[in-house]
């Protein structure tokens, strides 16, 4: 293929990365990512933005390798508090809470951690391979995503809500509508009119995602934990040693199809600028439920849901880096900071990047592979230590979790107001859960609401309804319809087969 670099260029890129100096920064990036991902509310974007001034002293290669490793490991590390404490380390870990924390309550924390590590590694490796192979080819197509396609993507994401609704579809849909309505708070994007900020300037941009997440997941759970003596439910055993983690790793490999599909979803959603891992993991979780033979077990500590969430989560970095380096369009906040680090050092990502810096580009992409390979041994060691939290009595753990949720809510925008939001949304989350409403559906709608509104408006202004007849928009529409119909068709086929 014309324009494709030769094998010697790729080999030179790998050789460049193997320089001990670059490898050292890769290792430091991984450690920093594990810490940053494990602190709720303090995500990798915040941390890397703080590191940006230092990138001048590191130089472009070291800075970007450090940042890529931090990006990868923070995605995986966010699963630790999600599984052990029901606090999503990053917004994309919210689906991990649903299955992982339930497994911890059942005394299966070790297995959950093992599944998380293996799924993250496989999803990450898949995305790294995709990035290596397809970056020069696929990046161009990301430009084809206009407002109509973005709106259809949001609608596609919303179809996942249908599969997340739990026992009552009506209550699930009501939760979605409530989330969408809550997303209407804050400044309208075209006229700048502030819609129902209730007099609080802190709500001018709408409800901030991280305090809401920490509230409806971490804080809400405290209202039930407070009645029990330990994280692990009575009569269940806590785990010791590496055996349960290794068993979890082995168990997760049985779901290799789910793992690959979820990693692929992560790559594709990560590829589309302006989406990100928080949306990708919900889409993947919903898909896993729709393809599952046992969808009724989702939300009760089901391995398939955990595999889908974590494989997809680590699939995103590989996808997100593709438009960043090939088009100069960052796919997420973190890749925006990575792009800024390159530009501060005098390197401009874009269509000419692969022509001018082919060796460095492949070294950066290959750092994704190395980071994900290192994730397995490092994750194993860190999980073993972190899991000790399950042996702490709830009378000590509950106040500590409450404080971490409050502080995590503050860390993002540094506003005391956000700490109040954590408490308020904690109560709302507890009430929604108590009466069988769907917290995930509420959250997903809150997340997708502004994206859907903005892109629908733009699409209608650009070309009216005709915008939605563009091929990619139609393909997503068909996929959405297929997503809704496929489980029904499959169930019928299975029933016929059994008969």
């Amino acid at each position: 293929m014309a324009g494709m670099p030769g094998i010697d260029v790729i080999a030179s890129g790998i050789g460049l990365l193997m320089d001990p100096h670059h490898l050292m920064w890769l290792g430091l990036g991984m450690l920093a990512g594990l810490v940053v991902g494990g602190i709720p509310g303090f995500n990798d974007t915040n941390f890397l933005a703080m590191m940006l001034p230092f990138s001048v002293y590191l130089g472009p290669m070291d800075a970007v390798v450090f940042m890529m490793a931090c990006f990868c490991s923070s995605q995986a590390a966010g699963s630790l508090p999600a599984i052990l404490l029901n606090i999503p380390g990053t917004p994309s870990n919210a689906p991990t809470c649903l299955e992982g924390f339930r497994m911890t309550r059942q005394g299966r924390a070790g297995q959950a951690l093992g599944i998380s590590i293996m799924s993250s590694t496989v999803g990450g490796l898949l995305s790294a391979v995709f990035a290596l192979v397809l970056t020069p080819i696929v990046g161009v197509y990301a430009l084809s995503f206009g407002p109509a396609e973005m709106f259809m993507m949001a609608v596609f994401g919303m179809t996942a809500v249908g599969s997340l609704t739990g026992k009552s579809v009506t209550k699930g849909l009501f939760s979605s509508a409530l989330g969408l309505f809550a997303a209407c708070v804050g400044a309208e994007f075209q006229l700048g009119y502030t819609r129902a900020a209730f007099g609080f300037y802190e709500l001018f941009e709408g409800f901030p995602l991280i305090p809401v997440l920490l509230g409806v997941f971490g804080f809400a759970e405290l209202f039930s934990l407070v009645h029990q003596d330990s994280l692990v439910e009575d009569g269940r055993q806590r785990f010791t040693g590496y055996k349960p983690i290794l068993e979890g790793m082995r168990e997760s490999l049985k779901y290799w199809g789910n793992m690959l599909r979820s990693g692929f979803i992560g790559v594709i959603v990560g590829l589309i600028p302006g989406t990100g891992a928080a949306i990708a993991t919900w889409v993947s979780y919903g898909q896993a439920k729709q393809w599952s033979k046992t969808p009724e077990k989702f939300g009760e500590g089901h391995i398939e849901g955990l595999v889908a969430a974590d494989a997809c989560n680590n699939g995103v970095p590989g996808g997100a880096i593709i438009p960043t380096v090939t088009l100069g369009i960052p796919g997420s906040g973190t890749t925006l900071v990575i792009m800024a680090a390159l530009m501060i050092n005098g390197v401009t990502p874009g269509p000419s990047f692969f022509g001018e810096y082919a060796v460095e580009a492949y070294a950066i992409l290959f750092s994704l592979v190395v980071a994900n390979l290192l994730l397995l041994p490092i994750g194993l060691g860190v999980s073993r230590i972190a899991a000790q939290v399950t042996s702490v009595p709830n009378r000590y753990l509950v106040p500590i979790i409450a404080l971490f949720c409050l502080v995590g809510g503050f860390a993002w925008r540094q506003m005391i107001f956000d700490m109040y939001l954590v408490v308020i949304f904690g109560v709302i989350g507890a009430i929604l859960t108590r009466y069988g409403y769907s917290v995930p559906a509420f959250l997903l709608a809150l997340l997708l609401g502004p994206l859907a509104e903005r892109n629908l408006s733009w699409a209608l202004q650009i070309d009216g309804v005709a915008s939605f007849r563009r091929p990619i928009a139609l393909v997503i529409l068909i996929a959405t319809a297929g997503v809704l119909l496929l489980p029904v068709i499959l169930k019928k086929m299975v029933r016929r087969g059994r008969e």
């Binding site: 009501f174 509508a177 309505f181 819609r195 129902a196 509950v398 409450a402 502080v407 540094q414 700490m419």
Partner: protein, 157 residues
């Protein structure tokens, strides 16, 4: 009017909250430019339809005669601890502007440990101080977050 149906007040909590929120939203935006309100009004329409469905399906339910009377004595012990989880953070957020983050957090942890059944003061003080120190070093010293601080003799904690 309800015939042999009764109102399940527990199920009415979420629709009630949604109604209050919608009313407050509409009150706040009633004089807003129409162009800014097309989307919220569309969403509100969908919400209204689903609200009616929830009311019909869950809030107003068939009376099958097995309704039990409200027993405050049975509920009271179940409420005490969740109330602590709600009121503790509220009090913490009210006092940290005056006590500073570190002292406020230490007191918050210590009092909640005791409130939730931690018997040993020594363990409470040790764990509370350890967690507070970790957060102080991580958030204030290393990350330089602008958490409220109390100045004592030139030392901001």
């Amino acid at each position: 009017m309800l015939g042999n149906r009764r109102v399940n007040w527990g199920e009415a909590v979420v629709p009630g909250l949604a109604l209050c929120f919608a009313m407050a939203y509409l009150y706040q935006t009633w004089d807003g430019p129409p162009g800014a309100l097309y989307w919220p009004m569309g969403v509100a329409g969908v919400l209204a339809v689903l609200w009616i469905m929830v009311i019909v399906m869950f809030v107003v339910e068939r009376n099958n005669g097995d309704k039990e009377g409200f027993d405050w004595a049975a509920v009271k012990p179940k409420i005490a601890r969740p109330a602590m989880i709600l009121l503790g953070p509220a009090a913490y957020l009210a006092v940290i502007p005056f006590t500073g983050f570190s002292i406020g957090s230490f007191l918050f942890l210590l009092l909640l440990f005791r409130g939730l059944g931690g018997r040993s003061w020594v363990v409470g003080i040790a764990v509370g101080a350890g967690v507070t120190l970790f957060l102080h070093v991580t958030l204030i010293v290393l990350m330089n977050l602008s958490l409220p601080r109390l100045s004592i003799g030139g030392l901001a904690i």
